[in-house]
Symmetry: C2
Subunit: 118 residues, 2 copies
Amino acid sequence: MMELERTAACLEALGNPTRLSIYRLLVRAGQAGKAVGQIQRMLDVPASTLSHHLKHLEMVGLVTKRRDGTTHLCVASYETMDAMLAFLTRECCVEAGAGATVDATADASGSVAANDGA
Amino acid sequence: MMELERTAACLEALGNPTRLSIYRLLVRAGQAGKAVGQIQRMLDVPASTLSHHLKHLEMVGLVTKRRDGTTHLCVASYETMDAMLAFLTRECCVEAGAGATVDATADASGSVAANDGA
DNA sequence: CCGTTAATTCTAATATTCTAGAAATATGGT
DNA sequence: ACCATATTTCTAGAATATTAGAATTAACGG
């Protein structure tokens, strides 16, 4: 499945402590974003290393970059994160807090489904 | 931060297409779980490869295993997934699909926060 | 045009992950 | 005790990821 692959790619991107920190920082920065240099100073990561991580996050769509003069502004992309979480809640039916509701979308080609109550 | 590391570990564990498929399958199987061999046949993964992936998922707490005679039953652990999503919604304040309700537990020691409305 | 600051790309060493066959271990039935 | 089935551990090769210094490119100010 294509969507599974994309979701896995996002999860993998966030599955690195440094990248998760970067993403968290950017989410907190909101639409204003943060310049690469700012991130670098805040997280104390070498420039080249940070650049690679940002590229990785950008590649999967979790971060977008736009130039602002001599600095590059990074902004977290909520759409991608939402899509990722949507897949998790739909396909891996997690309750995301408390009151879950299994959607049971019938597309398991092998057909599994069991669910006896513990 | 400790919690960030644990969250990253879970994300990384699910960030592999095969492992994400395994986890999804187990969530769908509910508390009844699935035997290793069943998973193997359903996903068509070599036994040793599957065993490694399951161990990985088990290590981060996303899956638990218990023996049932000659087979080993695998069960998805919702608590761990919930903890992971809780971190994401709290620290990376994402709306989780639609009716999110961010818990806003005040413990952001670094305190950044910006969020101008686009 | 030149220097400065910002960031990326190049390069390479190290480390980790993924994969899967083969061997080993465990359980239960006969 | 022995065999069949289930699963794990051992092993190792190939592939990727991580890290970061050095060189490079880009934009602006003077």
